[in-house]
């Protein structure tokens, strides 16, 4: 197995790309850091330097010191940005209210997303963060990195921005926190020309798709999550960069029903790897689990004494469909009844493996509460093969987009449109028949919206004809 980018990519070598010298990168001592105070009083933040968990304040302070000791001309935005960011954060604690204004329109030429305008509402106190825009950088699928890339990005962002990041934002992007309008285009130029790397999505765009670790390091993955994620991301660059939708649209890809990127809860299109043949069983390994030679669930529960592993209690009785049993010392699974919940496979990964005829279940419409309340995604296509170049998935997605663009109101998520128009209408649009798998239960009210063509003779009737049979 070998995957290749769609086009040749520039090879990245930090030594060739770098901005800062080693001396500049190591420009302060532990002693200096110990005595270092930022220029504002931040008592509440200093409290957050204590305790065992990594302190973002302690981290920010070393960046502040590092910047302070760099020559001013070695940074294109203000030297004090970290000081001012922390100062404003302390003020927000004091006031119990944020001090960031509504975003303005900031972006790079030709794109309608990827940069989010951000301004301080107390610029006189914290002038260096007066203009402090966010930039979203499209992360590589499942967030593996080489240090050459990360180091170059650090230099670029320290030089043209604040040197502060989110690794990563909620949607998946690398988030660059804070730069001026002037530096956005130069940064984008080097990002694309030197790092061969593009921005992610924001606004009413396709948002940066994301995926789980997949087959790279997980035995449960049923599909090539990274490849599918990369393909959809690169194929839909226009949708990702130029707003043409009623609202945001998120695509997330989970390799199995365990759902490590939570696609079912937070993506308009959720692709979840699954299989349609039988769970593979290694009966010897089953015996090894029963005999206690292999610890259940990969040792996930080893911090406590739960007693000897009991396959009846821990696997067979917990199976939601009751499709498993021990017969003549062998584990048998009635695969026709299995709903692929993953529990038995999670508990006994060395004995049980997903089948080999794999694909995706496709669900649509998940979102957070704004506005109609939170929604989980609706199972729409029970199974679809997922093989490069994934034309079947793209075709389905485009039907969904066409309908949503046509019918969706401003700021209406796909799930809300499905709610408003009804799942039957959505099925009609994408051209699939209704199936009981799509519902928890059939409707309980009898208010069926029959169509005229459903009924013999249509709806046109003559009252005179009716009165011939029935006196008033």
């Amino acid at each position: 197995m070998d995957f290749k980018p769609k086009r040749p990519q520039k090879e990245l070598k930090y030594e060739e790309l770098r901005i800062y010298t080693d001396e500049e990168l190591h420009n302060y001592t532990e002693e200096e850091l110990k005595d270092f105070k930022i220029k504002h009083d931040i008592p509440d933040l200093e409290e957050l330097e204590k305790g065992p968990w990594p302190s973002f304040v302690a981290d920010a302070k070393r960046e502040a010191l590092h910047r302070k000791k760099l020559p001013k001309e070695r940074m294109m935005i203000d030297q004090d940005v970290v000081d001012d960011l922390l100062g404003q954060l302390q003020l927000s604690f004091d006031d119990g209210e944020t001090h960031w204004k509504h975003g303005g329109i900031v972006g790079v030429f030709g794109y309608g997303g990827g940069v989010i305008g951000r301004y301080s509402d107390v610029p006189e106190k914290y002038p260096s963060v007066a203009h402090f825009h966010t930039i979203r950088v499209n992360q590589p699928a499942s967030k593996f990195y080489k240090t050459d890339f990360l180091r170059a990005l650090c230099d670029l962002w320290e030089f043209r921005g604040s040197g502060m990041f989110n690794m990563h934002g909620s949607t998946g992007d690398i988030i660059l926190l804070g730069t001026t309008t002037e530096q956005v285009e130069p940064l984008f130029y080097d990002l694309t020309h030197e790092l061969d790397q593009d921005l992610g999505g924001s606004g009413s765009n396709l948002r940066t798709p994301s995926c789980c670790i997949g087959k790279a390091r997980c035995e449960f993955a049923c599909i090539d999550t990274q490849d599918l994620c990369y393909e959809l991301t690169t194929h839909y660059q226009d949708e990702l960069h130029r707003p043409a939708f009623p609202y945001k649209f998120k695509i997330k890809i989970d390799g199995c029903p365990n759902g490590c990127v939570a696609s079912i809860a937070r993506s308009d299109m959720s692709l979840i790897g699954t299989w349609r043949d039988d769970i593979r069983i290694d009966q010897e390994a089953v015996q090894a689990y029963i005999g206690g030679e292999i610890q259940p669930n990969g040792g996930a529960h080893s911090g406590r004494d739960w007693g000897k592993f009991d396959i009846q209690k821990e696997v067979i009785d917990l199976c939601p469909t009751g499709c498993m049993a021990m017969e003549d010392g062998k584990l048998v699974i009635n695969n026709q009844e299995c709903n692929r919940c993953m529990h038995c496979i999670n508990v006994m990964p060395r004995a049980l493996r997903p089948g080999t005829d794999t694909g995706v279940s496709i669900l649509f419409g998940a979102k957070a509460p704004i506005l109609e309340g939170a929604q989980l995604a609706v199972l729409t296509v029970p199974f679809m093969k997922a093989e490069a170049p994934y034309d079947n998935i793209k075709e389905l997605l485009e039907k969904v987009w066409d309908w949503w663009i046509e019918e969706g109101k401003n700021r209406e998520r796909l799930g809300e449109l499905i709610q408003r128009k009804g799942l039957p209408r959505f099925l009609e649009v994408i051209g699939v028949p209704a199936a009981p798998q799509m519902v928890k239960m059939p409707r309980t009210n009898p208010y069926i919206f029959w169509k005229e063509e459903d009924v013999p003779g249509g709806w046109k009737r003559d009252i005179k004809d009716y009165r011939l049979r029935h006196k008033r």
Binding site: K6, Q9, E30, D44, G51, P52, W53, P54, D59, R62, H66, L89, S92, T98, H99, F109, G110, R118, F132, P140, K143, K146, T147, A152, L153, C154, D155, L156, M164, F165, N166, M167, H168, S170, G172, E185, P186, H193, E194, Q197, D198, T208, C218, N258, G259, A262, A265, R266, G299, A300, G303, R304, E314, L318, C341, A368, A374, L376, N410, R411
Partner: protein, 395 residues
Amino acid sequence: MALSQERLGKYNPEKPTEKRITDIGPRHFWEFFPPVIQKNYGKWLYHDILEPGIMVHVSENGDKVFTVRCGGSRFMTAENIREICDIADKYCDGYVRFTTRNNIEFMVTSYEKVEALKKDLLSRKYISGSYKFPIGGTGAGVTNIVHTQGYIHCHTPATDASSMVKAIMDELMDYFTGMTLPAHVRISVACCLNMCGAVHCSDIALLGIHRKPPIVDDNIDSICEIPLAIAACPVGALSPGKTEDGRKTIKIKEERCMFCGNCYTMCPALPIADKLGDGVAVLAGGKISNRISEPKFSKVIVPWLPNNFPRFPEVVATVKKIIEVYAAEARKYERIGDWAERIGWEKFFEKCEIPFTEHLIDDYRLAYDTYRTSTQFKFTGAAWEVSRAAGGIDD
């Protein structure tokens, strides 16, 4: 080629489209996979958690990759990332990975390297004493908290995230570095109902909420598109109005407001944040995974706790209490929501000593679906209080 070092680099503002490169997408994932990952792609057979935070994955051709997982703060500086790179260069041939839940993963190919790496990681501390790279976050424990931006860089938050996460994880450290719980517990923080972190299916979710209706800026007519702002209200609480001097404004039926903040998202002239109004709702019992039970929403179990910066003691105490009771009471493999459903939510409130108030009963859309329509309930103190109030019992 090198990164540019002039003020505007190679970008020419006179000719913005000159030599422009667009729509190239992200770097391809394959180049970032360590050789052992490339070689064994799709061939992994199983994994074992050797100790909290340390996993081995074994491939069908016998290759092994050892992963050391460390908690990180999502917000991090170039200095921090460079230190991560130093470690990755020293032990991992220059490869490193971040997880969906803001953890950092270092991968090596032999157990000997694990020991050295582990020692190195745990020796790295900030001057104030906190770990830079605590090891854990695997199996039946609490892994890192996913969270949103908060006061650090967002315009709509009702609380702060980074500080709350730090305060909670400081207290839950033993659950991060241990695997003593019945199942894994996923905690999430979102600073407002926009929920860019989509926390609504977490075992425990902390959610910033507002409690005061928006206030109207004097010159709203010059700041925002009034019809768009009015249309943004899901409960029709906004309507067009006129100021005393005849300018267009917005009238608010305050008693209708559900404090979602959607109007402020649309219109900066309707600020909703307020020091005394804002705070944190606690939700529990949600899950994402399809394992055993279906994915489900988290339920609001505490309607509001104060934004007690910087350490949110009330929030931390509530989270800790739920986890401790869950740890003591739930069955192996049972998630918090499954446990609560098995014992009944009335028992959940009793055991966790959380008061049940009318705020926890849904009265928004589809609320009736959440009402109990059976006689299957358990008696708790709350039930006796109802009976007393209704004149049903004297004791």
